[in-house]
């Protein structure tokens, strides 16, 4: 039986790294009280352990999940890792330990104190990615569709498939300002890469015309006699508005593009 140990796991912030933490936890028969990523400030009072990312160990844990539990649980864990839930690493570890015990049934234990918060976090992620499928606004510059988003969760891996199926012949870039990552696509491949900063390029007249047309349509389609600010804000929280063409007061801002370090491919699911 494993007991909670007064130890903190330091991992490198990758999904593989987290799987190695799971491995370590079983190997040493201990449950850490926290798992922290590289950007976290160290807590000096407690002993901490650096967990090295070993691809072999990660692979063992990774392949065991669909085999011993279920593919559904594997997908759930992958998505849980993308959420903005603060203690996601520890919860994923605890969740997996329970899942190995209960098997695929774990997904039914929605009232469990470990499963429930993680389930909520994944729902939040899915909801946000669903909303963004609609709320993303592209601008066309040099035949490339460019868009900027500021999501709470790391949604780009969830958006990839959708936009690939939608615009197979276009080139597009979705830049996640918060996580400083970008989804780049050109026919017919997509990559998710780190991008430090992105400045929108200068837009030509055609682009500005369509922005104005869209704004015009948006303003016209409202039935003024039914104005309902609260309903609009419930359906479309204000934090999305900054990125949407219809709410931009000056749709013709002129800015220059600065390319980020595109060469570092990051892991994506």
């Amino acid at each position: 039986m494993s007991a909670t140990a007064d130890v903190i796991y330091n991992y490198d912030g990758t999904f593989e790294g987290l799987l190695c933490c799971v491995f370590e936890s079983y190997d040493k028969k201990e449950i850490p009280i926290a798992i922290v990523g590289p950007d976290c400030v160290q807590n000096m009072l407690l002993a901490s352990k650096d967990i090295l990312t070993d691809p072999l160990k990660a692979k063992r844990v990774q392949s065991s999940i669909p085999k011993k539990i279920s593919y559904e649980v594997y997908e759930f864990v992958c998505q849980a890792f993308l959420t903005c839930f603060p203690k996601k690493e520890l919860y994923i570890l605890l969740f997996l330990r329970q899942a190995y015990k209960w098997g695929a049934q774990i997904m039914n234990r929605l009232t469990d104190e470990i499963v429930y918060p993680l389930y909520k976090a994944v729902q939040h992620l899915q909801k946000e990615s669903h909303l963004l499928k609609g709320f993303i606004r592209f601008s066309v510059a040099n035949q490339v569709l460019i868009s900027e988003i500021g999501p709470k969760n790391f949604v780009l891996p969830l958006l990839k498939q959708h936009f690939m199926e939608r615009y197979p012949e276009e080139k597009f870039l979705i830049y996640d300002k918060i996580h400083q990552m970008g989804l780049l696509y050109q026919p017919y491949q997509a990559r998710i890469v780190p991008i430090d900063a992105l400045e929108m390029p200068e837009f030509d007249e055609t682009e500005i015309q369509f922005r104005q047309l869209w704004k015009l349509f948006y303003d016209t389609i409202e039935i003024k006699g039914r104005h309902n600010e609260k309903c609009r804000m419930t359906q479309m929280p204000k934090r999305y508005w900054d990125y949407m063409t219809e709410f931009q007061t000056a749709p013709m801002v002129r800015r220059k593009i600065v390319e980020g370090p595109e060469k570092l491919p990051i892991k994506n699911k």
Partner: protein, 442 residues
């Protein structure tokens, strides 16, 4: 006339159409094409009135040979008239679509020259989108009553969803307010489309690549509050439409007075939004909760309760059905409990497979305990310390807004205690703000 002016006129004229959904079909772009659709539907923005904007909703033209009394585009109306060209509209839709402004196109039209001519223009627009641009996104096309069935068939092959607006909830009102349209002219295309969809389903079984006819089905819309029908009549009609025409959706549109006419409610009438809201609630109960129209309203209750939603109202009138044990009740019964929806009922079924549910657990599953607590039991017990007095239960069934209105109206009624079990007619004065079903001055 430039594109800005046209878009303004023709989207302004289309905004009273309630439907803007993009749901019901899953598909992705072919190589060399553009556009996909998702069965759950995607909202791209929400207008200032809180309605989802998913499609570029425009009229092809607002010129119309008909003179329907309630309509902004009627022949005798002195609004500015405009018409797109098929190419112009297709280009606009594609450019909006590329920028992810929209999920597709909702194309309706006033009747220009003749129903056939109008239909041909719409077909040409959709043809450019589908063939020239290889557009595979969502298209909702309005069938033009009176157009040749061959044209309707062609339109259905190009569109994902078709709709024919039934306009008024009864034949009498239709005759009065839309003298150029008849029940026959509306129901004929509707049943034709239904027939084609069914036929197409058989074809698809036989030939996998058979071209699809309106794969996202058929919908309709009616105007609420311009004519004197009761909620019960409207709801029975809705149920009938779902049954006999296999409709995907019936939309309700609260009447916005746009025209002065002695047959219509006066211009200062507010749209009956609450009534529309209640009808949508009931519509959901019909489609997803296994309710029948006659369970929700009967001869004594012709209209919905102003303060309590139809599901709570049903539950309060059927207290013998409750309390229900959440650990045993079948799915259909769980759906009847106020505070439990389709999703939470599904979660309850899943969660109780691996353990007995408690009250605290139910909350985590998304059950609204404020309402549900009066109707459920866990492990054979009701919630401890529950006050089951009528006033308390009734209050719990109301949203904050409904409770506020209820409080205000109580003041009007001179402190009279409202009971839910009184027939609706005694509530008439207090419900004036909520139910604005105006009788016709005949």
């Amino acid at each position: 006339m430039d594109i800005f002016a046209k878009l303004k006129i023709l989207s302004d004229a289309a905004k009273y159409d309630a439907a803007c959904t993009s749901s019901g079909v899953d598909k992705k772009a072919a190589r060399g094409g553009i556009g996909s659709a998702s069965a759950c539907g995607i909202c791209h923005t929400f207008a200032g009135d809180g309605r989802c904007v998913s499609l570029l909703k425009v009229l092809f033209t607002n010129v119309c040979i008909y003179d329907c009394k309630y309509c902004v585009n009627r022949r005798s109306a002195e609004t500015e008239k405009a018409a797109f060209t098929p190419r112009e509209l297709a280009d606009l839709a594609i450019q909006f679509y590329r920028r992810n402004y929209i999920e597709g196109l909702f194309l309706s039209s006033g009747v220009i020259q003749s129903p056939d001519y109008t239909c041909e223009q719409m077909i040409e627009t959709l043809r450019i989108l589908r063939e020239d641009y290889k557009f595979n996104g969502y298209i909702h096309a309005k069938a033009i009553p009176g157009a040749d069935s061959l044209l309707i068939a062609r339109l259905g092959m190009l569109a994902d969803r078709m709709s024919v607006n039934i306009e008024m909830p009864s034949q009498h009102s239709l005759q009065l307010l839309a003298p150029d349209k008849s029940k026959h002219s509306i129901l004929t295309p509707m049943s034709y489309i239904k027939g084609r969809i069914e036929e197409n389903c058989h074809d698809l079984v036989k030939y996998r690549h058979a071209p699809k006819f309106a794969p996202a089905g058929q919908s309709t819309q009616m105007i609420i509050g311009a004519s004197p029908e009761t909620d019960r009549q409207i709801l029975s009609l809705t149920e009938g439409l779902y049954r006999s025409y296999n409709l995907k959706r019936v939309f309700f549109s609260a009447y916005m007075p746009v025209m002065e006419d002695k047959l219509l409610p006066s211009l200062d009438t507010k749209p009956p939004l609450w009534r529309e809201h209640r009808l949508y609630q009931a519509d959901w109960l019909l489609r997803f909760y296994g309710f029948a129209a006659k369970e929700l309203l009967d001869a004594e209750n012709e209209n919905f309760h102003p303060y309590v939603d139809p599901k709570c109202n049903w539950a309060l009138h059927h207290m013998d059905f409750f309390p229900m044990d959440v650990n045993r009740a079948p799915f259909e019964d769980l759906l009847r409990i106020p505070g439990i929806g389709v999703r939470s009922a599904q979660r309850i079924i899943a969660a109780r497979r691996s353990g007995i549910l408690s009250f605290a657990g139910l909350k985590k599953l998304g059950v609204v305990m404020k309402r549900a607590q009066y109707f459920i039991s866990c492990k054979g017990r009701k919630m401890p310390g529950l006050d089951m007095s009528r006033q308390v239960v009734l209050r719990a069934m109301m949203s904050a807004r409904e409770a506020k209105l209820y409080g205000t109206d109580l003041g009007f009624a001179g402190g009279r205690q409202l009971s839910l079990f009184e027939p609706i007619s005694t509530l008439e004065t207090s419900a004036k703000e909520l139910i604005k079903c105006l009788p016709l001055p005949m």
